[in-house]
């Protein structure tokens, strides 16, 4: 099977290439990048072909592509891949507007290609374990979540993460969608209302987008949930950030920290403790699923519609932040 990479704007492209290499029968067929210098560099690093345009890459007989461009450029790239009849895994958030996310879903529907949104947490072993217990009825009725997806300022990876046009916003656009997707997956219910407050106290002089954000979601089934989406972790924190939540049910509470499976490592090289993750690689399981879906020509377990639903919540969160009141999620 031949898979290509469209754009290295998102640093996850590098991780996905390692994931692809670990799957028997899958070849990295080539890469394309509008930043040709960057594209050539990574093509050389990963010993693959650099294509001068996305069209050339898509014409190279691909089965699927992974799109890891800036958020606002997902739409034209997915549309290009869909017209070429190539299956797509697209980085999250699916788009920076609900309109673009809808267009992405529709383009793939019309072309009959698979569209998977890259939500790796659906494949996180601790999160899957809780989903299994929930579905078995072991935990009883869920009432509330107290959730955090905090991180450091992402500019150390790529500067465009703090560009409002390219990223779709700041911390809210970056860190809302994972938890929204996890909760939708756990509850089988959609978000109906969102309340959001944002500020720019962390890195106030470095960026123009919000760096602090607290959100409160209400689901149609009555469950309520807070999300702390802030870029509040200092760069010398033991790791990049994290995703954790407390889930309150009629039986009590379950506290889940998706990235807690770490060694604490002390080294003369850094002179501060760092966490060395030994848990399972959720990205690998996610890329495996994309490859399986393409092989079996079936919808992926995480779809474009899942990506669209999360973008709807982000758009509502920004509307709420502008008014200071809770707003309904528009469909």
């Amino acid at each position: 099977m031949k898979i290509g990479i469209m754009s290295f704007a998102h640093h996850h492209a590098e991780a996905y290439i390692h994931n692809l290499a670990a799957i028997p029968g899958v070849d990295l067929a080539g890469v394309a990048d509008e930043d040709s210098q960057r594209g050539r560099k990574f093509a050389q690093q990963f010993n693959t072909t650099f294509y001068a345009s996305y069209q050339d890459l898509l014409a190279a007989g691909l089965d699927g592509v992974i799109i890891t461009s800036e958020n606002s450029k997902h739409r034209p790239m997915v549309e290009m891949a869909a017209s070429a009849g190539v299956h797509v895994m697209c980085e999250k958030p699916l788009a920076t507007t609900v309109g673009d996310a809808e267009a992405i879903v529709n383009a793939c529907d019309r072309a009959g290609v698979i569209l998977m949104t890259a939500f790796p947490m659906r494949f996180s072993a601790p999160l899957v374990a809780i989903k299994t217990r929930l579905d078995a009825g072991e935990l009883g009725q869920v009432y509330a979540f107290n959730a955090t997806n905090q991180g450091e300022l992402p500019t150390k990876h790529r500067p465009w993460f703090v560009d409002k046009t390219l990223a779709g916003g700041g911390a809210v656009a970056d860190h809302t969608v994972h938890l929204v997707d996890i909760m939708r997956w756990y509850l089988g219910s959609e978000v109906s209302e969102v309340y959001t407050q944002v500020n720019r106290i962390f890195h106030a002089d470095e960026v123009e987008v919000e760096t602090g954000a607290l959100e409160m979601l209400t689901f149609r089934n009555g469950v309520f949930a807070t999300i702390d989406a802030s870029w509040s972790r200092p760069p010398y924190w033991p790791t990049w950030g994290g995703l954790a939540f407390e889930m309150i049910t009629e039986r009590g509470a379950v506290i889940i920290d998706a990235f807690k499976q770490n060694l604490t490592l002390y080294t003369h090289q850094l002179e501060r403790p760092v966490w060395s993750y030994w848990g399972s690689d959720a990205n690998q399981a996610m890329v495996n699923e994309f490859v399986e879906a393409v092989r079996e020509n079936r919808p992926a377990r995480v779809t474009g519609e899942d990506g669209l639903r999360a973008v709807e919540v982000v758009e509502a969160a920004y509307r709420s932040a502008g008014t200071g009141q809770s707003v309904r999620v528009e469909k």
């Binding site: 009432y143 509330a144 107290n146 955090t148 209302e193 309340y195 407050q197 500020n199 106290i201 962390f202 890195h203 106030a204 760096t211 602090g212 954000a213 607290l214 409160m216 209400t218 009555g222 309520f224 807070t226 702390d228 802030s230 509040s232 972790r233 200092p234 924190w237 407390e246 309150i248 049910t249 009629e250 009590g252 509470a253 200071g324 009141q325 809770s326």
Partner: protein
């Protein structure tokens, strides 16, 4: 008048406030406070569970942390809150979540739970500043872990009380400070106006949970602008 917001006298909370006041972490941007245990017991005549007497979880339990959030980040401008028993009055557990927006732009996230099996009692604080961060978790900092077989009748207290062994109980520290305030006229760290402001936040949280809307707080004449 002295108001017994004893959390301000717990050494971990007092020490974190002092670090903030000394500028160790810069300007607070996000303050996260949690306080969770089991439902207060005594089903007959338990005033903790009688909302008209205790105010419920958004008042009785979470007021400690509204007060502490004000101590750290200053006066509060608006409140948005929800609790389980608003939508599920017969739920066996209760849990409240509140988002406070401070006048200086800082945000506080307050979580309160009567949801755990006894005798669990957990408190935590995280104060994220623009040049640092303070964390505290009662479980992670417990100096003693008991993994002992039960002696049989090991009933938990009717109302959970947090405790980490320290040389002077925070309740004693509080009484001592109050005594000194009365005797020598020194200022206690909690004023009557602080007590009033915390009740105002709690009332706004209850109103928000009932209405589903954010509640804007009026400036209190008793609390300096």
């Amino acid at each position: 008048m002295l108001v017994a917001h004893v959390v301000r006298y717990f050494p971990e909370y007092a020490s974190a406030q002092q670090a903030v006041a000394e500028g160790r972490i810069g300007k607070p941007g996000i303050v996260r406070l949690t306080r969770a245990s089991y439902r207060p017991k005594k089903p007959v005549g338990n005033w903790f569970l009688d909302e008209s007497k205790s105010g419920g979880i958004l008042m009785d339990l979470m007021i400690h942390d509204y007060d502490y959030a004000r101590w750290i980040a200053g006066d509060v401008e608006s409140v948005f809150a929800k609790k389980i028993t608003q939508g599920h009055p017969d739920s066996p557990v209760d849990y409240g979540l509140a988002v406070l927006t401070h006048k200086n732009g800082a945000l506080s996230h307050i979580a309160g739970g009567w949801a755990y099996p006894p005798p669990a009692f957990r408190t935590s604080l995280e104060i994220f500043g623009d040049s640092g961060l303070i964390e505290f978790d009662s479980d992670d900092t417990a100096p003693i872990q008991n993994l002992l077989a039960s002696l049989g009748d090991s009933d938990s207290p009717d109302v959970a009380i947090p405790s980490s062994p320290v040389s002077e109980s925070p309740y004693t520290t509080q009484i001592r400070e109050f005594y000194n305030a009365l005797k020598t006229g020194t200022q206690a760290r909690v004023s009557a106006a602080d007590g009033l402001a915390a009740v105002q936040i709690a009332e706004a949280a209850i109103q928000s949970a009932q209405s589903g809307s954010a509640v804007h707080l009026d400036q209190l004449a008793e609390v300096g602008a």
